[in-house]
Assembly symmetry: C2
């Protein structure tokens, strides 16, 4: 067996290397590449992706997986997990014909261009025929897989291994009325002050402040770096080279800080993966939701908490004396946690964010079920926005056209954002049981025990466990909304005096 395992690991290692190489090329494209480089880079990435696929779905890899799967059936070792994850990925990859991938690349490439134009002109009709084609392809994609309980399950499973549409629906149906109710209570209360957030803040000083914060968090600069890019993201070239990007948000300068913490949360997850998983399908975060639980934890549960700012606010105030003149810690803390139902998901606060996601999930499920005509999406979008958030987009650019995801065929992705929030709160309750004085530690700018806990319970396991299983093992419960509701209710009751 050991020999076959070595053979399999060698093959998978090559595939992983090609994938990592592609990540370097993509990172460079977004961070460094001169404008002229675009066309060739697209070609290079297409070639790498094609070769990675070719190298993965060979008959030899299939045989090795089959043989090893039988021998390791029911075993709970890293090796068995490796073979299980490889088998799952292999099966998925095998089912999708290369001709489909090529077709999808062409359709989504055109859809992306149309979306850009449609958003620029705020005219959904430009995007509509392209989205119709994307959805057609999504149906075709689903048809390659055995029938699931719900056709959307097939999509969801690509982003959130093992998650079922029915599970998400139960979770969200439970969560929605509570979030809607909380928001109603908040919007009836006296609004907090936050004008000081929108003053001019020096970019360099703000960036430096962010670097200080994530250094204290424990982001390892020997195994990472931060660059500027049009969009903040995290990317992994190996467990020992995990990079993040940031940007200066001119309209909302402090957002730069929170986005840095967010990406560092992703990056520390990747830096904490078991090094022995390198070049195998076990390396890195286990799902988008668990990944998002890490980024949102550092951004929100840590980064927007009062203890955090008890530590950092004096330094921030010293750095930005004029901007924060007369702004007390309490006022600052309330300001960065202001709740205000709004139109754009990526700018939404903690209390309203999940509702943006739920709206999208419902539309996606309807699209997959064929129960909605694409042309009707803008109207349905606007109706739901009014129902959930009490706001109505003035145009499609600020409504149904705001997200890039659908143009790229990424249907099935959105719910992981909200699930990540829920998981972050579940973990947070458990962490605070295990580290009773965590708030005091944070108040002192000490994050090492928190990071060690995450390393031990979440990070090191890489992709060994399915997300629901991992969450259950650590917290005693599968993904559930109660801790998040408790967290939101407590936090905002204090801030808004509910």
């Amino acid at each position: 067996m050991s020999e076959k395992l070595e053979q399999l690991k060698e093959k998978l290692g090559e595939v992983a290397d090609i994938g990592r190489a592609a990540s370097v090329l993509s990172w460079d494209q977004q961070v460094n590449m001169p404008p002229g480089g675009n066309e060739a880079r697209g070609q290079q990435l297409a070639t790498l992706s094609k070769i990675a696929q070719e190298k993965f779905i060979t008959d030899e890899v299939g045989r090795l997986i089959d043989d090893l799967k039988q021998e390791l059936d029911g075993v709970d070792t890293d090796e068995a997990a490796l073979v299980r994850v490889a088998a799952r990925n292999y099966d998925k990859a095998k089912r999708v014909p290369p001709s489909f991938i090529a077709e999808q690349a062409i359709v989504t490439s055109k859809a992306f261009e149309a979306w850009m134009e449609a958003r620029g002109k705020s005219d959904f009709s430009i995007f509509q025929p392209h989205l119709e084609k994307v959805v057609e392809l999504i149906h075709k994609y689903i048809s390659f897989f055995p029938p699931a309980d719900h056709p959307y399950d097939t999509l969801l499973d690509d982003y959130e291994r093992g998650m079922k549409t029915a599970d998400v629906k139960v979770i969200f149906d439970n969560l929605r009325p509570k979030q809607v109710e909380l928001i109603k209570a908040i919007t009836s209360a006296k609004q907090v002050k936050d004008d000081f957030l929108y003053k001019k803040y020096n970019e360099k000083k703000l960036m430096d402040f962010g670097v200080d914060v994530i250094t204290k968090f424990g982001y390892d600069w020997n195994r990472g770096r931060q660059d500027k890019a049009p969009h903040p993201f995290e990317t992994t070239f190996s467990v020992n080279d995990v990079r993040i990007t940031t940007r200066y948000e001119g309209d909302n300068p402090l957002a730069t800080l929170f986005s840095t913490m967010h990406e560092a949360g992703h990056a520390m997850y990747e830096q904490g993966s078991n090094p022995s998983y390198e070049r195998t399908p076990l390396a890195g975060g286990t799902s988008l939701a668990v990944h998002e639980s890490q980024s949102r934890m550092w951004e929100n549960l840590v980064g927007r908490s009062l203890p955090f700012w008890e530590h950092f606010y004096p330094a921030l105030k010293k750095t930005f004396a004029s901007q924060l003149d007369g702004v007390s810690l309490k006022t600052f803390f309330k300001g960065i946690n202001k709740v205000q139902p709004s139109l754009i998901r990526v700018n939404a606060d903690e209390a309203t964010y999940n509702l943006h996601v739920m709206l999208r999930l419902e539309l996606e499920i309807s699209m997959v079920e064929g129960k909605v005509a694409i042309k009707d999406l803008p109207e349905i979008w606007n109706t739901k926005m009014q129902e959930y958030l009490g706001v109505t987009p003035p145009n499609d650019a600020k409504g149904v056209l705001q997200d890039i995801h659908w143009s790229g065929g990424a249907i099935g992705y959105f719910s992981t954002y909200a699930l990540g929030n829920l998981v972050s709160a579940q973990l947070w309750e458990k962490i605070n049981q295990d580290i009773p004085n965590l708030s005091d530690q944070i108040r002192k700018g000490n994050f090492s025990e928190l990071l060690a806990w995450l390393r031990k319970n979440i990070h090191q396991h890489g992709q060994k466990y399915e997300p629901q299983k991992l969450v259950e093992t650590v917290t005693g419960s599968r993904i559930t909304p109660e801790p998040y509701v408790r967290y939101l209710t407590k936090k905002y009751s204090e801030i808004y005096g509910l």
Copy 2:
């Protein structure tokens, strides 16, 4: 035929894409990578290199090349050149077994470490056994190829397509006495002043000045960028993404400027390659010597010329007023052209540089002929240094251990540096015939006609022509030392009043 050509181009395109991807990874390794990333990056590069090789030397590619070669025999089109170059590369790649490549990787990896240690301790005996193994492998490598006129031909051909050892010997035997004689005359003359070069120059201002210079040269920033790296180099990711690196030379700040011009010379060559050659073996520079002719031309024939500094010196003097206080244009010009026989090749001036190269070539040929024992290299080195340059290294670090090349198995490379100098002067004579007022243009900071000439006569042809053939077509003569000797003699006669 057209269909087979398309098939071949598709295969070669993939191989090219993988090679370019590897270049991105290497660039990143030297420019950005955090220390932790090293091991995984080595693995990723090894995988890409292995796959590129596998994809290239398939039977299918071999058949396509054979079929097309017959049909295109004697034809002088781009397509025929493409097939000829591909056939040559294919034959070379096929002859070297993967097991040899793996063995060489291990031997040179250890030899590199030993060389680092030996150089640090200035103790050749640490490097000696490793160099012996490297030379053994070189003999083995040569044995894979059909017997040539001289065994060294096989090595030389890898760096300088079509060049023969006998040709280089004739060229160098002709050149050596003239350079030795010139240097003797210079060292008997009154030495020029250059102390102002070694003052402290602000790094940022110097870098900015370099950027201004190469922008005027015509380096296209839309299709390139410059970063800092431990060593200056040029690298190509596509004809539309050609990057350079620079470093600040603390001991010799102005060297930063000349090295920037040098790398920009390489880069403009690559930027000027015919775009239709992209993703084929015709893309990029045709040989190391021709490449070096471009870098050395911009660095020396342009960048160390009086007309160049007539244009740029006022701005330099304004930028570095205190450093250049009281330094006239003439004094500055003489200072940057000071000739002083010295120990280290990379710091050598134009008049002595080639002699460093000749010494290495002679030792390499002796090694390949088996006429020299590796243990005797330091002594032979020192003897020849005294003979050619009148200086003797005080230790091996400043003698036989100074260059990295042998530790990596790069035997056959050195002569291209000197050949590049010769080609630069050959081209320069022809350019000045074709553009009689070139000096006036340079004096006005106008380089567009020069670059256009190089684009038309050299750059656009990529690898279509063998270097000797290209030089002959353009100048009417194969590579020859006379123009370089004329250039040196004229220049230094004026500077040193010979």
